[in-house]
């Protein structure tokens, strides 16, 4: 059986899991400079599912596609260190300020340029926006089927895929026809570690923008080793309707941002017993304070 062509959609996000006091600016927006930029956690779960398919089916290739600033190439390298075949960075001022609709439009245009694919896998949602909209919208724009909340790809061949979904009150096993888009939950298997050899092979890989200030020796090396070139696409590299990109293409308007400072009156007294602690855990989980 021939391998599958898989595209993994990934996003570089500020690490909102370890927030310090500088995490928010005075105006209530995220202070991206103070937070380390990381591979969106559920996109790593998605990547692992893709890598497992590649382990099983020889000849499978994985392309990681991301949209973001130049530094987002970092997560494309993270993908290469784990066994992906290539990375594509979609970066341009024209994409800036995109909401989920404009983002999924731009991504779908880039996927059309990649053209040949059997499977698109992405994380359920990103930890900076928590919308879970981009994956499904990309599927709609490409007019392909989708399976959301996947926890495990149970089997896959050139024509169909069987997936275990994790839902609120249980699990569900569904099948879909390829090509298809899958979004993966955080409850799926954790992503494998970076591989030492792949890291040493790809650590010098860069996009053209990252190469601007590199030495001549480095440029010579890149020319000798074409695999070190990470694809970088601007708005001119994809076919798109500019009106649907970036801020122009984003109907979402932020009405107001509230900066919430917790007051002492919100304090709650617990007695030191298991039941109270369990209740608190349930409460925090259900209102998404944790988990």
């Amino acid at each position: 059986m021939n391998g599958l062509k898989i595209i993994v959609l990934a996003k570089q996000v500020p690490d909102t899991r370890n927030v310090g006091k500088d995490a928010m600016k005075a105006d209530g927006t995220v202070n991206r400079a103070a937070l380390p930029a990381i591979f969106n956690p559920e996109d790593l779960n998605a990547l692992e599912q893709a890598l497992r398919i590649k382990d099983q089916i020889p000849g499978t290739t994985i392309t990681v596609l991301t949209m973001g600033p130049v530094r987002a190439a970092e997560i494309l390298r993270e993908g290469l260190f784990r066994g992906t075949d290539e990375g594509v960075l979609l970066t341009d001022r024209a994409f800036a300020g995109a909401d989920t609709l404009a983002t999924s439009y731009a991504l779908s245009c880039a996927i059309k340029k990649i053209k040949d694919f059997d499977l698109i896998i992405s994380g359920r949602q990103a930890i900076d926006g928590d919308t879970a909209q981009v994956g499904p919208q990309v599927a709609e724009k490409l007019n392909i089927a989708q399976i959301t909340y996947a926890e495990e790809v149970l089997s896959v061949n050139k024509s169909a895929i069987r997936v275990k979904r994790r839902l609120e009150r249980g699990v569900e096993v569904v099948e879909g026809k390829l090509p298809i888009l899958i979004t993966v939950n955080g409850s799926a298997a954790a992503c494998r570690p970076r591989n030492a050899k792949l890291l040493m092979k790809y650590k010098h890989s860069t996009t053209i923008s990252e190469r601007q200030e590199k030495s001549e020796d480095y440029i010579t090396m890149i020319n000798e080793r074409p695999y070190l070139n990470i694809k970088e696409w601007s708005v001119n590299d994809i076919e798109s309707d500019r009106e649907q990109l970036g801020l122009n293409g984003s109907p979402t308007k932020v009405k107001k941002i509230e900066n919430i400072v917790f007051q002492a009156k919100e304090a709650k007294q617990l007695t030191n017993n298991d039941r109270d602690i369990e209740e608190l855990m349930k409460e925090l989980l259900s209102n998404h304070t944790i988990g």
């Binding site: 494998r192 570690p193 591989n195 030492a196 050899k197 890291l199 040493m200 650590k203 090396m221």
Partner: protein, 568 residues
């Protein structure tokens, strides 16, 4: 994400030692593989950057996977199922993570799919993994055995076995038997050559074999019928795929419970000779042991690190009499000494690793081409240093690991005695370090030559001659004073020409040398990085007191006293 490498800048400090330049240059043969392998470094900076980044992977796996699994693995342990070892669930997960990360066969050549790392960064990985789980490092660290195959086996054997090690198969070294522990000359496992099949067959029992059910094992066996000593022993490679060996029992141990310690029964187990007949014990085991001892030194450092961190965290958090207990002199004095012993252990570990790196790499190069006269001298010089530093560092750092684990429990008070805190496990895990791969007493036997032939003193004099920043000059004078006490003690003990008297004081003399060497190494660390100043002072004061105590003991001792120590 937690990371046991990036949260511990001391490891990186040792990685950046000036001698690394020479080590990398030799190991990479002037970067000749850069166009042959896409992961080979192009220059020194590139190589160092690779070590650094790969150690970050090790640190991440250790902190995020191995350490959280340690408690469960300690509790569950391996199981014996139908004569085979079944690892604890957590152990399986750990091995898989390290396999996926390509961290098996770290120091093996690239032509066998290894990473071709020098010993120094490999030992750093062992140091990091040990901190996460001292038991697990045994299974992973047995890739050391591959180094023996790489040194002594044929190219064809290397091709077959080393590629498998690099792909993640585990190893074992089958030496000990019920009646052959410290005295390996007594090994009885029988190797007979079967002419018709053209293979060796092994029969007998091995005991206390770490990871005894590993995929590939080095087995010490008696190939020369009628012999009774070490000269009748040869080294064999046993491949589990060929069968013939079953696990009869997994020992129920005090610590490192995740590491399966096996009793093995060999019944016509096919095996192949590694190297030449009769050199099994006298040459190959010695090489194997030296590598393993360095590994245990790394394990000891990792255990010390874990113990120190647990003690420090608890002492800061635990409040008694209205303040954190770390504010009491009795406690901070203890913790600062733990830190000093930890730093001293780590500095001698990497000093030793550098010596091993240079001489072993030159040895491998000598198989490819003739060494120059300078290179030959360099190899000899570092081999001598490695030979005397390996036992002294294993002996002293494993004792320090035990002392640190003891103190870490003590800092925790009653809580430390409970299984609720990791120190209880660390305490049990530490205990083996001063026993296996040669007890401390046997390390002293190996190290005493360094005392009597003046090897340690010569090295101490070299440290003494190193250029120091002016503000550190005063310390040199203190250490010169300690060295004089050491010289006087050695002179006193050796002038009687009485071997029993030398053996009687051997441990004291070796320890004196060790304290002085570690003090100098920490002083040189201070010279490179002022942050070592505190730990150096604490260690030096402690070391000076120990040296003085031993000097005093020896000063008032004579061969006539020995009888009083003999209990009938």
């Amino acid at each position: 994400m937690a990371n046991f490498y990036t949260d511990n800048p001391e490891i990186k400090f040792h990685l950046n030692h000036p001698l690394m330049k020479r080590i990398v240059e030799l190991k990479e043969r002037n970067f000749e593989e850069k166009d042959k392998f896409d992961y080979a470094p192009v220059d020194f900076e590139d190589a160092m950057d690779s070590y650094n980044q790969v150690l970050e992977i090790v640190g991440e796996i250790s902190a995020e996977i191995v350490a959280p699994n340690a408690e469960g693995v300690d509790h569950d342990g391996p199981e014996l199922v139908d004569g085979r070892v079944k690892y604890a669930q957590g152990t399986e997960v750990n091995i898989e993570a390290l396999r996926q990360a390509g961290l098996m066969g770290m120091s093996l050549p690239r032509r066998f799919n290894g990473l071709n790392f020098p010993i120094v960064p490999y030992i750093m990985a062992a140091d990091i993994v040990s901190r996460a789980d001292a038991g697990f490092v045994n299974i992973w660290g047995l890739q050391d055995c591959a180094e023996t195959i790489n040194e002594f086996a044929t190219e064809e054997q290397k091709e077959r076995f080393l590629t498998r090690v690099c792909a993640g198969e585990t190893m074992a070294m089958d030496l000990t038997e019920p009646d052959a522990g410290s005295d390996l000359q007594a090994v009885m496992l029988k190797a007979t050559f079967d002419e018709s099949k053209n293979i060796w067959l092994l029969n007998g029992v091995k005991r206390f074999i770490t990871n005894g059910d590993g995929d590939i094992a080095l087995v010490l066996a008696r190939s020369e019928e009628g012999t009774a000593d070490g000269r009748g022993l040869s080294m064999f490679i046993y491949d589990k795929r060929n069968g013939g060996v079953t696990v009869r029992r997994i020992e129920n141990k005090m610590g490192i419970k995740g590491s399966p310690t096996c009793e093995l029964v060999f019944k016509n187990a096919p095996a192949e000779l590694c190297g030449s007949r009769k050199l099994g014990l006298i040459k190959y085991v010695m090489a194997l042991m030296n590598g393993a001892r360095l590994g245990i030194t790394a394990q000891s450092v990792g255990v010390s690190e874990a113990a120190y961190r647990e003690a420090l965290a608890y002492a800061k958090e635990r409040k008694q009499f209205g303040k954190a207990i770390i504010e009491f002199p009795a406690v901070y004095e203890m913790i600062s000494l733990m830190k000093a012993k930890l730093d001293a252990s780590r500095t001698i570990l990497y000093e030793t690793a550098r010596f091993v790196d240079i001489y072993k790499t030159l040895m491998h190069i000598s198989e490819e081409r003739d060494l120059t006269k300078e290179e030959k001298e360099e190899m000899k010089r570092y081999q001598k240093l490695a030979d005397i530093f390996t036992p002294i560092s294993k002996g002293m750092t494993s004792e320090f690991a035990n002392q640190n684990a003891y103190d870490a429990v003590q800092v925790h008070g009653g809580s430390g005695f409970m299984k609720d805190y990791p120190v209880e496990r660390i305490y049990r895990d530490a205990r083996i370090t001063s026993i296996y791969e040669g007890t401390t007493q046997l390390q002293v036997v190996a190290a005493i030559r360094g005392v009597t032939t003046g090897g340690y003193l010569a090295r101490i004099k070299e440290y003494e001659a190193e250029a120091l920043k002016p503000e550190l000059e005063g310390y040199r004078r203190v250490l010169v004073g300690l060295t004089e006490q050491y010289e006087a003690a050695v002179k006193k003990v050796t002038e009687f020409n009485n071997n029993e008297f030398i053996d009687f004081h051997a441990r004291r003399m070796v320890e004196m040398a060790g304290h002085i060497i570690m003090s100098y190494l920490l002083l040189l660390d201070c010279n490179r990085d002022h942050n070592y100043w505190k730990t150096f002072e604490v260690y030096m004061k402690y070391g000076a007191a120990q040296v003085a105590a031993h000097a005093q003991y020896i000063k008032f001792s004579s061969p006539n006293d020995i009888g009083k120590f003999k209990i009938e």
